[in-house]
Symmetry: C2
Subunit: 183 residues, 2 copies
């Protein structure tokens, strides 16, 4: 561009190494070539992707969960969500997670879009769905998974966000993306 | 509660281990006691926290960046943001990151709130600020940091979100939290 700036923002992988493989986390460390030709290191989490579900009762109340999140040592209010299994269709994943975590099946499913919760150090994507026509069929939590299900009206949700009671990023991002689908 | 469910959602640390310490990532693996008394493992990133800035020109245009994000191998449209230095005041951090990344100083600063981008496997928090009264003083990017600065009107931003051109979670969460501060 003639002003000393690189022509592109792209970073190229020189080599890649798995530096930790645990029960949950797959951590990579890549050597990369930067736009100006120098070398650097990029460390990040490899993630299978996830879904989040905005499940609406006929009266407009939204299904929420209270769940303890160990990294932050406290309970969060959040939308139902979960990781995509290997090879799993994303809408089937959304149906499975809603049923397992909350016990609800839904007659109508709508796709909202995708976002990336943590672009600095994770390749995770989260696919957002809206579900309507809920019917209680009974939940089946994963082993080691504990949560409580409740509902909020749109007004209660607005107040909870304004008062700082909802700080979960995936919940906030999903609600923002779904603005046109709600209300 | 008499229905076989545990009385609390809390998980207690039994021991904690640093399993990877790189240039960016600090990865922990804790053994925990679950609400039903069984044991499990929790793996997560320790993060220093970050800020994100919604910087508004007098005509309402919002300052954005194009930045290559290596974990996802592509350029993202995102609000200015950056990690908090050890012991750094969060508003001073927001001022520093806005100036370093975009070259702008701002006369008016407002605090919006906090969110947690990745509660499943990171303790990161992101503090959200709104900045007005912008003046260009010149940028000073960190070594190895490459980005382009541009602006969007509120209408352009709405369209970019709707069309799926903005999928960065911190940008979406910050805009949702700041609804009452904008427009």
């Amino acid at each position: 561009m003639g002003d000393g700036k690189p022509d592109t923002l792209e970073e190229r992988m020189l080599d890649s190494e798995q530096v930790y493989r645990g029960v949950l986390l797959d951590v990579r460390r890549d050597r990369v070539s930067l736009p100006d030709g120098t070398e650097s290191v990029r460390e990040y989490i490899r993630h299978p992707g996830a879904v989040v579900v905005i499940a609406l009762h006929d009266d407009g109340r939204i299904v929420f969960e209270r769940q303890y999140r160990y990294p932050l040592q406290r309970v969060f209010l959040e939308l139902p969500a979960g990781k995509i299994d290997v090879g799993e269709d994303v809408e089937l994943c959304a149906r499975r997670e809603l049923r397992e975590e909350t016990g609800f099946e839904a007659r109508e499913w709508g796709y909202v879009g995708v976002f990336h919760p943590c672009i600095g150090y994770s390749d995770e994507r989260i696919e957002v769905f809206v579900a309507r026509g809920l019917e209680q069929v009974g939940s089946a939590l994963d082993e080691g998974e504990f949560l409580e299900v409740f509902t909020m009206s749109a007004d209660e949700l607005d107040a909870a966000v304004r008062d700082g009671h909802i700080t979960d990023g995936k919940t906030l991002s999903a609600l923002y993306l779904a603005r046109d689908h709600l209300g």
